[in-house]
Point group: C2
Chain length 363, copies 2
Amino acid sequence: MSKFLSSKFSSLTPYTPGEQPKERKYIKLNTNESPFPPSEPVIKAAAEEAGNVMLYSDPESRVLTETVAKRYGLNFENVLMTNGSDEILNFAFMAFSDENNPIVFPDITYGFYPVFAQLNHIPYETIPLEDDFTIDYKKYCGINKNIVIANPNAPTGILMPLSEVEEIVKSNQNNVVIIDEAYIDFCEFDGDLLDVNPASAVNLLGKYDNLIVTQTFSKSRSLAGARLGFGMASEALINDMNTIKYSTNPYNVNRMTAAAGTAAILDDEYFMKNCKTIIETRKYVKAELEAEGFKVLPSSANFLFIKADYISGEELYTELRKEGILVRHFNTPRLKSYNRVTVGSKEEMDAFLTAVRKIKNKE
Amino acid sequence: MSKFLSSKFSSLTPYTPGEQPKERKYIKLNTNESPFPPSEPVIKAAAEEAGNVMLYSDPESRVLTETVAKRYGLNFENVLMTNGSDEILNFAFMAFSDENNPIVFPDITYGFYPVFAQLNHIPYETIPLEDDFTIDYKKYCGINKNIVIANPNAPTGILMPLSEVEEIVKSNQNNVVIIDEAYIDFCEFDGDLLDVNPASAVNLLGKYDNLIVTQTFSKSRSLAGARLGFGMASEALINDMNTIKYSTNPYNVNRMTAAAGTAAILDDEYFMKNCKTIIETRKYVKAELEAEGFKVLPSSANFLFIKADYISGEELYTELRKEGILVRHFNTPRLKSYNRVTVGSKEEMDAFLTAVRKIKNKE
């Protein structure tokens, strides 16, 4: 810390991204990326736009925003595109919470929420997960405070039913409720190509003006490295977040990413196929791990949260790393016996399972 | 404004970007973009990276950062890459100014400075430009406050000599001085391919630990729509701004833009050729306008700030627009008789001059 840093930030603890090691090639099951490359039309759209980058991007990202809005049955005025979903989350924290308006979230969830709160000097309260790592929605009902909930939650992968989400939103209508749906596309559902996943709070947007739903192109749409996220809400809430955006970084989404994002939405078939593959692979890996004696939380995301009695979380992490496989370990009291394992391709997961069995045999 | 917006932001006035009209095709001389597309290696690098975007970008942007650092004779630890230079400016405002540490800048300068100050609840003071639109550096010496100066300044284009910049930095060593060099590459100099423009405060970085220099790839490097800017400073100041970055958006620079930026730095010859062309075109247009009776401020940037006695600033703006040419007009008391005109290609500027003569003949 330099002598010049504002005292406001002297105790700020930044977020720690999952490691991106460069010293050797790993099977990366630590940051919940997609194992599938973007589709050919997406690559082509981004590549073609590379020749136009001498001109600023559209501050409104109008084409992209309208495409996303249409996909989710909304209007242009209900959607705000951002440089990853971290940006829309930060805008939502900034706009609606402050010293006098605290924010509430589970004690175990996306690790960035307490950082956004600290950054913006927002008091925050955490509500412990139940013993089985579920969220008891009743503890959030009628609390008259701003709330943010990741659904499915991270790093557990557990989904809260939409009816419970609705109870939280409905019973806190003087406050903003943010539902962070980074992983919603991996929720299993019946049927084929659907406009909106039935588990998504997007289905509630017409009914509640205090609801913000955030999603990302980083997971199900294979664009983690292009940086694209978005928020969906009433026009009034979107306008407020645009006030923050236009006071921070009006050209926040670059041309290549906007083109890639638009093409990705239009190529829904590829997206749905990949989501279905991940869901199938997730079932397969869960069954295999349970056969090896692992406890595996019921996941609706593209990762599994797992532990075994015969090995500590940290030891499994370390041994997997030696085998060339990276998973994510959180060294906190309630999480330290677990590891979070991204659901990659079938081949990656077979390599992971082989390593798990090899490590078990050594114990 | 919704009833949910924090009262902190109830009077926040966002920045207004230059217009990006879609209703017809204009010659765009209103947002200081480059008339030259990115070079072939840059387009190729970005396009190739489009196939890898299912993986997160490197939070450190290490390859890009090292390439930029080497280009400017610095180390990795002295450089922070951001999503456009607006982002590094916001980080610098956030990190070093606060309720108790105001920031000072000229009354006429980049319009985003007062917005960043309002956004972050930083009191700010402005010092009027002299009658000839220059900055009297002595008014900034020893004031013991944080300072931000655009050099060359906008929308005037006037350059402050490096010796005067140094006096300001040297005499305020208990405070941070930000030199915003968005347009520095268009300062004329003798000689050929130079590592660092002799007018740039980068040349002072080794001597002062309170200096931050910001630059952008949006103007001289033809990457406005890719969004890439950076800050250069002592390791301690960069670390402080990284604390903000990792608490806001760790993956702020996407993969395609990082690849484009690296390739752009390595293709210095193309960049220098374009800068020289802009400087020559600027001289040509200035002489032509002066022959038509215009007052043209001495510009070291890729734009000219111009006025004529025979027509108001607003009328010239409106008439040029009718002719299919967009320039930027600022409707404030001291600026309203002027227009800011980007220096585009020779062909664009000839079209502009033809339109100016046509409008003059109508008066």
